[in-house]
Amino acid sequence: MSGLHLRAISHAFGDNQVLSGVSVYVAPGELVCLLGPSGCGKTTLLRLAAGLEPLQKGQIDINDTLVADGTNSNQLPPEKRGAGLMFQDFALFPHLNVRDNITFGIDSKNSDRRVAWVDEALTSMGLVGYANAYPHTLSGGQQQRVALVRALAPDPRILLLDEPFSGLDVARRAQIRTETLRLVKQSGVATLMVTHDPEEAMFMADRILVMNEGRIVQDGTPVDLYSSPQDAFVAEFFGPVNKFKGTVKARRVETPVGVFNADDYADGTIVNVLVRPEGFRLADADKKPFPMPGDHLNQTTVVLEVDTARPLGRSSYVALKLSSGQIIETRVPGLFLPPPGAQVCVGVNTDQAHVFPIADTP
């Protein structure tokens, strides 16, 4: 298997264990995202892969060559690994212009071919006019593109992207994400990207590895992760949820928003039912909610009181109030703005409701 293979990697900074037995495989042409909250060890993993951090435990292969082995001190230095790394702060060389930055890593042996590639990349990334400009005169987006082209210019065996879009303003991100994805996919290189933004990960990745506290929690396609999260952490990481606590009885759990299937859990298990705001379907109290295309609407519906309703443009935010005082946040398409105190009929799309046992109960 060529590509990037990180096997059973553990790493600690002093007493602080940042990675515990993490394994990652990225195939050539594949883009894998490491997604996790800050401080979960994902950037350390990238630096280990690049050789910027000495490996303590585990093994790293790049294109079937062992480049680092934690059991002995044999580690290939970063300059011999053929790993392109794009830094969060771009790390452009301030004393070199755009062209010199990009051609910095090009080996004189195959320079003609790569210089031709650089010219092409400069054109396709809209940087032609800036070849002689210095980094500090460029906008954030331009710097990002220069950094990306620079990392790809030496024709690396693997590409590592460390929070590639975090330095950019939100308005420009969407466009730059598209451009980046196109260039990376064109290069056909095995790419490992680190981000803390689930939306970004879902947009970019063929596969997402969710990390938490130095471990991989779940590995799957973006759709898998969003629709079948492995645990409450993954579910909550991909967006806000409403939580309802309940006890499993006869393979089912009753909540204030309906009865849910709990086939996987034994009777008496205390569980949390997590429902995304966009998983609710609302209707006037005397009607049944209407399913959206692809929905699996729950069989039970309940009638609840509206607390507040606010328009959000394409959708509406409707907060419902339970008799216990708990507020349920829902998000429904279009304009649906019942007055406070009104009664609405509430259904749930079961695809967006997840049942997890509460960890520390027997």
């Binding site: 062992l66 044999n74 392109g84 830094f87 060389f93 004393h95 910095f104 890593g105």
Partner: protein, 553 residues
């Protein structure tokens, strides 16, 4: 697939860490040598020294350190506060002019002051003419060649260290802290003593320790003024009593003093990391002074500049103009060439080694390289006299082993080291490496580690990364480092006197010898050249300090 794995190259010995350790050893060698000689010396001179001169040396050294320490503390801190916080006629000019005395070596000022104040000097002649005195017995005049004179002279040329550090500490202080103090009912003076000084204290302590290191390093002034300090004593025991062992033993005692100074300085530097609670660096409030207060401030700032710089510069210029022919005929140009050769070589090598060390520390993971670099930069605190003792022995030993190897191969090799400029440059390097290392380290610290990562992942090995990324970015700072070392080497006296080859004179040794023989006029051009070179770092420093504060115009 595990079968298909290629084997890895064996890990190589890291050039950088090994190099750093060798440099540290080379720098530390003179110090070990001194202590080694002191311990192994079998002559009974120690008992003799202990019973006769040790107490005197200690007493003189302590009085001198106390006097200069207090003097520089008061003048340095006071003037720094005045020019930073108050506005009065000339205050803008004093900001940089107060640094000028730094350009004047203490021994040069000592010669000039003596020349002016002694019996045949300008001041006493004028007094005699005015009052009709004819003999020394007719009036009382302070003896300039005394402890008091040494304290005055050294204070006048060394206070800029304290001024410099105190001023940057005051500039760093957030205006808010001072304003809060005012709103809480403290007067301007109250704020100074209750808020500004405590916040700046670590910086001031660093400044004073640097001054004290210079004080114990001084040889020219104390020798000329016949103040029997430790350094003068080392020279006396070594050259006049002809006892290297005794000199080494005295040096070892002095090294303890040095150690205390180093520890004090390091602790104070660590203490400098006060957290300024506000980062609002708006313009500092400046109290507009008028009338007598403005006049008083003006005099307070003008006096040190006049005595420490304008006086020696003008006297020397006057002499240089009248006697330049004598100076030129006294082989002035060969002294200049010698000084330039020594200082430029030392500056170049120091910067190369300093950069090497700083980069090795950056590359290293463990603590060893850091410890090595720290060791390599303690030389700045060690008096030249001690280094001279320590350098001469290892170079002599090296000489002997080289000729031994040569003899074994049937080649007669004479002295390769002794009698050349190698020992002088070695001594300069040990003493001034810290300057080059510190500057490189600071400059390297401003380059984000991601630059290294980028260069490495783009295929550069550490040396290539240094050449292609760090060096171009550091060029300006390295130039500054070279200039600082260069100028310090130009001024250096005690090391040069001992370690120079026979009949080899630099500007500093030439000035010292002529001026000690009451021939100041003839050597004035030489002294003036040293002062002129010394002004370059003063300009560099004053530019840096005005740039250092965000929000400063």
């Amino acid at each position: 697939m595990s079968d298909a794995k290629k084997t890895l190259p064996r890990i190589r010995l890291n050039l950088w860490s090994v190099g750093a350790l060798i440099i540290a050893l080379a720098v530390a060698a003179p110090l070990f040598t001194v202590v080694g000689i002191a311990i192994t010396d079998s002559s009974d001179i120690w008992t003799h020294l202990y019973n006769t001169v040790l107490g005197l040396y200690l007493e003189r050294t302590i009085i001198l350190m106390l006097g200069v320490g207090i003097g520089t503390l008061v003048i340095g801190t006071g003037t720094a506060w005045l020019v930073t916080m108050c506005r009065f006629p000339g205050s803008r000019i004093f900001e940089w002019a107060l640094l000028l005395p730094l350009a004047v070596p203490a021994y040069v000022l000592a010669f000039v002051v003596t020349d002016q104040l002694e019996y045949a000097g300008t001041v006493q002649s004028v007094l005699r003419d005015m009052f009709g005195w004819t003999r020394p017995q007719d009036y009382w005049f302070p003896e300039i060649r005394s402890m008091g004179g040494a304290i005055t002279v050294m204070t006048l040329v060394l206070y800029p260290y304290v001024y410099l550090l105190a001023r940057s500490a005051f500039l760093e202080q957030s205006v808010c802290v001072l304003e809060v103090s005012r709103t809480l009912g403290k007067t301007a003076w109250g704020s100074f003593f209750r808020v500004a000084i405590p916040l700046a204290r670590p910086a001031i302590v660093v400044g004073v320790t640097l001054v004290l290191m210079e004080v114990i390093n001084d040889f020219g002034t104390v020798d000329y003024f016949a103040v029997q300090t430790f350094t003068a004593g080392i020279f006396d025991v070594w050259l006049n009593m002809n006892s290297v062992g005794g000199a080494a033993q005295l040096s070892s005692v002095l090294l303890l003093v040095v150690l205390v100074l180093i520890v004090t300085e390091r602790m104070a530097r660590r203490g400098r990391k006060f957290h300024h609670t506000s980062n609002k660096y708006s313009e500092l409030p400046s109290y507009q002074l008028r009338g007598s207060r403005a006049a008083l401030s003006f005099v307070a700032c003008a006096t040190p500049v006049l005595l420490g710089f304008v006086l020696p510069a003008s006297v020397l210029s006057h002499y240089a103009l009248s006697f330049y022919e004598e100076t030129l005929s006294a082989d002035y140009f060969s002294y200049v060439a010698n000084s330039l050769t020594l200082s430029a070589s030392a500056a170049f090598i120091a910067v190369v080694i300093g950069l090497f060390l700083a980069y090795a520390v950056r590359l290293s993971q463990g603590p060893w390289v850091m410890i090595a670099a720290r060791t390599a930069s303690i030389g700045y605190a060690v008096p030249g006299a001690i280094l001279a003792v320590g350098v001469l022995w290892p170079t002599g030993a090296l000489d002997q082993s080289i000729s031994w190897v040569g003899n074994n191969f049937g080649i007669a090799i004479g002295s390769v080291m002794i009698g050349t400029i190698v020992p002088v440059i070695y001594g300069y390097l040990v003493r001034f490496l810290a300057l080059a290392y510190g500057t490189s380290e600071a400059s390297l610290g401003k380059i984000t580690p991601n630059m290294d990562g980028a260069a490495r992942t783009l295929g550069s090995n550490p040396s290539q990364a240094l050449k292609r990324v760090h060096f171009p970015l550091m060029r300006g700072s390295l130039m500054t480092a070279a200039i600082l070392v260069f100028v310090d080497c130009m001024k250096e006296l005690p090391l040069t006197i001992i370690l120079r080859p026979f009949n080899f004179d630099t500007l500093a040794t030439f000035v010292y010898q002529y001026a000690s023989d009451e021939l100041l006029e003839e050597s004035a051009l030489g002294a003036l050249t040293i002062v002129g070179a010394g002004i370059i770092p003063v300009i560099l420093l004053s530019v840096t300090i005005t740039r250092s504060r965000p929000g400063n115009r």
